[in-house]
Structure formats: structure tokens, C-alpha cells
């Protein structure tokens, strides 16, 4: 299975919400669609799902237009939606039937997922009687009901408490384990980093970075140095011509040009007989890459 998105464009009047978006997903796992607020992520997702007509471009799933296969896609929208005054079971059956499931199949799946997410007692309640977290679980059940090959999760963990967030993470991992394809959009970079293989970062509709996350990180190299000593070494860092990115009581984050610069700093610390508590040279995190890339885009 493969998903090919080519030259996707969407304009609203004079405003270009998505500008020439292209990417492909060739293997199971999580593909991250990232961007600031208003970057065009939700518009792009709506075009993938065929909800919005595109100005140009193609979205193919195994060579067929994806919009014609939306019943095989599980979707968790950013803005959660349930009928507030209708019994949860009734609306789940309705959504399942719209996806082409029989009532018996749907009931069996609903039972499974309600038990898996510990919400069995809420099945016959009105949606408005459920907590936000439980409403979100019901929404996740809707996305998973048909056991879809492709899941699109727009901000799946936003607004969840740590316990429910862990439960969602566990389900996402299970789906990855089953060989599912997942397109995930989120502002929580640590969550995305935890799951994602490939990504696209959008800013004002334009693609500012795309590719495999590990390769992107390798491309940056190990240029982030976290260091903590018993004495203040700020002067030593500045004298070495290095940039301090962030300084907290726990550590000082320094940007180095290469590993050689980091080694030079380490040598100076040892020569000055300063007690070293922490020394970690690593690739930049997704959060750091995101902030840097979006920052560059704003500056340009």
C-alpha cells in the first residue's frame, strides 16, 4: 500500500491555504503533518479526505483517488464532534453504518473498544453526560470502528489527562504494531517524535521541511550540547565562541558547530579541574528543529 500526495493546492479567494504540498507514505507507521496554527494542516487533511475540493493536485491511495476510499479511513478530527443529546451507542451505530458496517459487526467492535478503553458504562448515556476525556475516547472508537488501514489523527492527545493520554498512546502503538498507516497532526512534538518516521512541516501553507525524521536529525549532526558543572562556566563557553541556547539551574544548552568544538570545551573544563555533572552531545529534538525552521520562515 502507498499514499501519494502530489502538488496539492487550495486557495480561499486570494488566500492560499495549502501551496504545492507533496509527500508519499510507502510503509506502515506514523507520518507527521506538522505546522503552526493556521499553517494549513487541517485544510490538507480535509483535502485528503475529499471533504474540500482542491484547486489542483492529486491524492492517490494505491493509484486510486483517496477521496473515493474514505470509508476505509479512520478519522479523529481536531475539533471533536458528537451529537450531545443522542445516546452514544445510537450515534456510533449510525457512524458505523455510514462506513458500510452491519449493525452486528458494529456492535461487536463497539463492545471490544469500549472494554479496551474502559468506557463500557457510558455506552447508553447521552454524549453530553460524558467527561471531555471520555468523549474523546468515544471519538477514537469511531475512528477505529472499521479497523481501517489508514488512520488520520488530528491532535489526538490534546486536552487529555496523563492517564488517558497514555491509554491513547498505547492504542496508537498497537495500531502501528498491526501495520497500520497513520497520518498524525499535533503540536505536541514529543508525542510526534515518539511515533513518527517521516514528516512534513508546513508554514503558511508552504512546505518548509520534509523527509525522514532520523535522516533530518542526522543531517543536523550532534550539535546540541547539554552541560552542567559544579561551577559557572558561562565565561568559558563564551570565550570558546559558542552560543548559549538556554540556561536553567539543571543545565546549560549550547549550540556547537561540530563534535570537535564540543570536545574542545570538554578539554578546557578538565584542564581547569572543574567538576563535571552532565555532558550530553546530541542531535536536535523535533521541537528544536520545528522552532528553528518556523523561525527561519518567519524571518525570511
Amino acid at each position: 500500500m502507498s499514499i501519494q500526495v502530489k502538488s496539492l493546492v487550495k486557495t480561499f479567494g486570494d488566500y492560499t491555504a495549502v501551496d504545492d504540498l507533496s509527500f508519499s507514505i510507502e510503509k506502515p507507521g506514523v507520518f507527521a503533518l506538522l505546522g503552526t496554527n493556521g499553517a494549513g494542516k487541517t485544510t490538507a487533511i480535509r483535502m485528503l479526505l475529499g471533504m474540500l475540493t482542491k484547486n489542483s493536485g492529486t491524492v492517490l491511495w494505491d493509484g486510486k483517488p483517496m477521496a473515493s476510499l474514505t470509508s476505509q479511513i479512520g478519522y479523529l478530527a481536531e475539533e471533536r464532534g458528537l451529537y450531545p443529546k443522542i445516546d452514544v451507542i445510537d450515534q456510533l451505530l449510525y457512524f458505523a453504518q455510514l462506513k458500510g458496517m452491519s449493525t452486528a459487526q458494529a456492535k461487536s467492535k463497539i463492545d471490544f473498544w469500549f472494554e479496551r478503553l474502559n468506557i463500557e458504562e457510558h455506552k447508553y448515556k447521552k454524549a453530553s453526560q460524558l467527561s471531555k476525556g471520555n468523549q474523546q475516547k468515544v471519538q477514537l472508537v469511531v475512528a477505529l470502528l472499521t479497523d481501517p488501514q489508514l488512520l488520520i489523527l488530528d491532535e489526538p492527545l490534546s486536552g487529555l489527562d496523563p492517564v488517558n493520554a497514555d491509554q491513547f498512546r498505547a492504542v496508537i502503538k498497537e495500531e502501528i504494531g498491526k501495520g497500520k498507516y497513520i497520518i498524525m497532526s499535533s503540536h505536541q512534538m514529543t508525542t510526534v517524535e515518539e511515533f513518527c518516521d517521516d514528516l512534513v512541516i508546513l508554514d503558511k501553507g508552504k512546505t518548509i521541511l520534509k523527509g525522514n525524521l532520523n535522516e533530518i536529525k542526522k543531517g543536523y549532526g550532534r550539535i546540541n550540547l547539554s552541560i552542567k558543572c559544579d561551577e559557572d562556566i558561562t565565561g568559558m563557553i563564551i570565550q570558546s565562541g559558542l552560543t548559549i541556547l538556554n540556561k536553567t539551574p539543571a543545565q546549560t544548552m549550547v549550540r556547537v558547530k561540530d563534535e570537535e568544538q564540543a570536545k574542545m570545551l570538554l578539554k578546557k573544563i578538565i584542564e581547569n579541574d572543574i567538576s563535571l555533572v552532565k555532558y550530553e552531545l546530541r542531535e536536535p529534538s523535533l521541537h528544536e528543529i520545528f522552532v528553528e525552521k518556523v523561525g527561519e520562515s518567519i524571518e525570511s
Binding site: 480535509r46 471533504m51 474540500l52 478519522y75 464532534g81 451529537y83 443522542i86 449510525y94 455510514l98 471519538q139
Partner: protein, 444 residues
């Protein structure tokens, strides 16, 4: 037009319409608002239909009830003091009519009788006839402490005895006296105006008006519910979830057909309950008023309910509903919160109210030009046409033209909706105005 049709039809993927239809019907039947509205409409139709029998029965009963006569009243003694000088035998006439009473002719000394009446607890009356400069007068004097002859029958009967007695004394025959004293009813009308019976007034004016109101309420109410349902799905963000499985037009069409089916069912229930109520109340009215029952002649109306007319009326009802529901669906999709609902549907409400008033007043005005406009204009024809057909106030050609105009309008609105709906149904934020819709229409 051909290009527009091609572009719009290409967007008509209607898979899932049936499921939306089924879900909408089920949920609407469960809603309290729908149940209450149905009960209220049925009760009103039952009462109106029953009143067509009960009111004439009550009138007939009142007319047929035997008026009390002198023989029925409980008077022990009637004293007659005749100082009129007329040669009329009042005592004999009263005696003939009041066999249980003792009629006593006084010659003089009424004071002692008056004193007796002041003190007595028995039912006695003194009738005093006098002559003065202006003519004759009759005075009825009764005891102060008890009720005797509360309707003054003795007084009025004595007056009629004198009136007829004077004519008889003047040499008029008894037959002529009866003719001369017969009741005369009086009424004032304008030149050219016809005096109409209650049944004619009902069938020609009030039934069309009532039909207009009922059709307006059903068409308006169900169209409004389509808009409400769409707004509810937009504001609760369910719409985005639905659109992963079905196209926007399938959602709106499913709702539209579901609400239309319910409207039609409610309309049929209304007609059936009115018919049954009319039938049952007819028997009840008959037993209530007995042989005096004079039912309204509604044959003009009932004869018009031929199978063909009923089918045509139902078609017009469906078309009217579709037109207004389409407009309401577009209005509902232009907003994303229930608070904006009134503002969004205001233009549709305005159109509906203009159409309703045109249809409401045209039967009363009965002007040919106005009737033609009302029949052909698609905003008023759904409310007016059914009654015009039932009352045989429209030619077949005109009715056909009206239906064709209505269908053409529906198609135009549908083509417009098909082009803009998929864009506006996911719109959030400020309410979209008509110019925004046209802008989206042109862009697409």
C-alpha cells in the same frame, strides 16, 4: 445552464442518503418537540373538524328548544285592572292561555291589591292598563320578595292581545291580523353583495385561510427543522465526521427526505383525524340536536376531495416543502453556531411570510389578477394552490403552469446548493451572507 447542470450533477454522489434518512427519522420521532407539535396539530384539526358539526348542532338546539309559554309559568293569580277604554276581553284571553291561574278582573280599588302584593309570599301579578295622551300603557306590578314571571310573559302577552284586539276591533280579519303582526327580520348589505350562508362563508373564505395556515406551518416548520438539524451538526462538529463517509449533498438530501416524509405523514394524519372527527362528531351532533339538526352543507368541499385532487395537493405540498427546505438548508449551512440561527433563516422567513400572506388574503380579496400572481409565484403557490384546486378556483392549465414554475425554481435552488454546499458546510466563523454565497458560487 448545460454547463451548470453538468458541474452540479458531478457533485451529486448520494451514497449514504438512505442511512442519513433513517437516522434523522428515528431521532426526530424520539424528540419531545416533534411529539408535542404532532399532538397539538392533531388536537387542533380534530377540534376544527368537530366544530363544523357541533356549532350548527348547538345553534339548531337553541332554535328548536320550546320557548316557555304562559301556560308554563307558575302564577297563582293575575289581577287585571283595565282603564284603557278599549273593548278587548283581556281576562278571557289570559284565562285561555293560563288555565292554572286565577284571572281576576278588577273594577277599582287597586291600592288594596298593591298592599296585598307588598305583603304576599304567593305568586300574584297586577296588570294595569291605562290610556294617556301619548297612547296606551300596561304596567305589571309584582310582589317585591319573590320571583314571579321573571320574563314578563304576562306583560308581553297582554300587549299582543291588545295589539291584535285593536286591529280586530277596527274590522281586520283574523288572518290579516296574523299576517300584520308576523315577525320582520332586518339586514343591511352593500349593492352587488350576496347574502351568504354560514356554509358558504366557511368553504369560500375560512377553509382556504385555515388551509393556508396549516400548509404554511407544516412547510415552514419542517424546513426550519432541516436548518436546525444542519446547524446542530455544524456546531457540535459532527458534520466533519459525517463528511468522511458521505458527501454534503447526501447529508442534506437524507435530512430533507426524512423531514419531508414526517411532514407528509403528519399532514396525512391531520387530514385523517379531521375526517374521522368530522364523521364521529356528525353522529354526536345529530343525537344532540335531534330532529332540529340542520348540518352545514359542505358538499362543495367534500365533493372536491377526489383521488386526483388529493394526489395533486400532495404533490404541491411536497414541492413546496422541498423549495423551502432547500432554502433553509443553505441558510443553516451559512452559520456554525445555534445563536446565529434566527439571523441566518431570516431571509427565508421573510420570503415564506410574504408568500403566506399573499395566499392568506387572496380568497378574501377574490381579485383575478391577485389570484393569478398568487398561483404562479413559487413562494406563495405552495400555500395557495391546494385550496384553489380543491375549491375549483383555478384552471387545469394554470395549475400545471404553477407546478412547472415551482419545479423549475426547486431545480435552480438545488443546482445553486450543489455548487456552494460542499464549501459552506465546513465553514466556521462569521455568518456567510448572500453575497458571500454568490462569490463562492462564481469561484467554483
Amino acid at each position: 445552464m448545460k454547463y451548470l447542470l453538468k458541474r452540479s450533477v458531478s457533485q451529486l454522489n448520494l451514497n449514504g442518503t438512505g442511512k442519513v434518512f433513517k437516522f434523522t427519522i428515528t431521532q426526530q420521532l424520539k424528540s419531545r418537540t416533534f411529539r408535542i407539535t404532532t399532538i397539538v396539530i392533531l388536537v387542533i384539526s380534530i377540534l376544527i373538524a368537530a366544530s363544523l358539526n357541533i356549532i350548527p348542532a348547538l345553534i339548531s338546539k337553541d332554535d328548536g328548544e320550546k320557548a316557555p309559554t304562559l301556560g308554563d309559568i307558575d302564577v297563582k293569580e293575575v289581577y287585571v285592572l283595565d282603564e284603557s277604554g278599549l273593548n278587548i276581553d283581556i281576562v278571557s284571553a289570559l284565562s285561555a292561555e293560563m288555565p292554572k291561574a286565577n284571572i281576576v278582573k278588577l273594577e277599582q280599588d287597586e291600592e288594596s291589591i298593591i298592599d296585598e302584593l307588598v305583603e304576599t309570599t304567593e305568586s300574584k301579578i297586577l296588570l294595569k292598563l291605562t290610556k294617556d295622551e301619548s297612547g296606551y300603557s300596561i304596567l305589571s306590578i309584582k310582589p317585591p320578595n319573590i320571583t314571579v314571571d321573571k320574563d314578563d310573559l304576562t306583560l308581553y302577552y297582554t300587549k299582543s292581545i291588545i295589539e291584535s284586539g285593536r286591529l280586530l276591533n277596527a274590522g281586520v280579519s283574523e288572518a290579516d291580523v296574523e299576517m300584520l303582526l308576523a315577525n320582520i327580520s332586518a339586514e343591511s348589505i352593500e349593492a352587488g353583495e350576496e347574502v351568504k350562508s354560514l356554509a358558504e362563508i366557511l368553504t369560500e373564505i375560512y377553509v382556504p385561510m385555515a388551509s393556508g395556515i396549516i400548509l404554511f406551518l407544516l412547510i415552514y416548520l419542517y424546513g426550519y427543522w432541516v436548518a436546525t438539524s444542519i446547524v446542530a451538526e455544524k456546531s457540535s462538529r459532527v458534520m466533519e465526521l459525517l463528511l468522511t463517509s458521505v458527501k454534503p449533498l447526501a447529508v442534506v438530501l437524507g435530512k430533507l427526505i426524512a423531514m419531508g416524509t414526517l411532514a407528509l405523514t403528519q399532514f396525512a394524519l391531520l387530514l385523517a383525524s379531521a375526517g374521522i372527527s368530522y364523521k364521529i362528531s356528525g353522529g354526536f351532533a345529530n343525537s344532540m340536536a335531534g330532529e332540529n339538526y340542520n348540518p352545514l352543507d359542505l358538499s362543495t368541499l367534500t365533493d372536491a376531495f377526489t383521488p386526483l385532487n388529493i394526489i395533486v395537493v400532495l404533490i404541491i405540498f411536497i414541492l413546496g416543502y422541498i423549495l423551502y427546505a432547500e432554502m433553509n438548508a443553505i441558510a443553516g449551512a451559512t452559520i456554525s453556531s445555534a445563536e446565529d440561527m434566527q439571523m441566518a433563516v431570516m431571509p427565508v422567513n421573510f420570503i415564506a411570510i410574504v408568500g403566506f400572506y399573499l395566499s392568506y388574503f387572496s380568497p378574501a380579496v377574490d381579485n383575478d389578477v391577485l389570484n393569478t400572481i398568487v398561483a404562479l409565484c413559487p413562494i406563495s403557490s405552495p400555500f395557495a394552490l391546494p385550496t384553489m384546486i380543491i375549491m375549483d378556483k383555478i384552471s387545469i392549465g394554470m395549475a400545471l403552469a404553477s407546478i412547472l414554475i415551482l419545479i423549475a425554481t426547486i431545480v435552480i435552488v438545488l443546482l445553486f446548493a450543489a455548487r456552494v454546499y460542499s464549501s459552506i458546510v465546513l465553514h466556521t466563523g462569521n455568518r456567510l451572507r448572500l453575497k458571500d454565497l454568490f462569490s463562492i458560487y462564481r469561484q467554483k
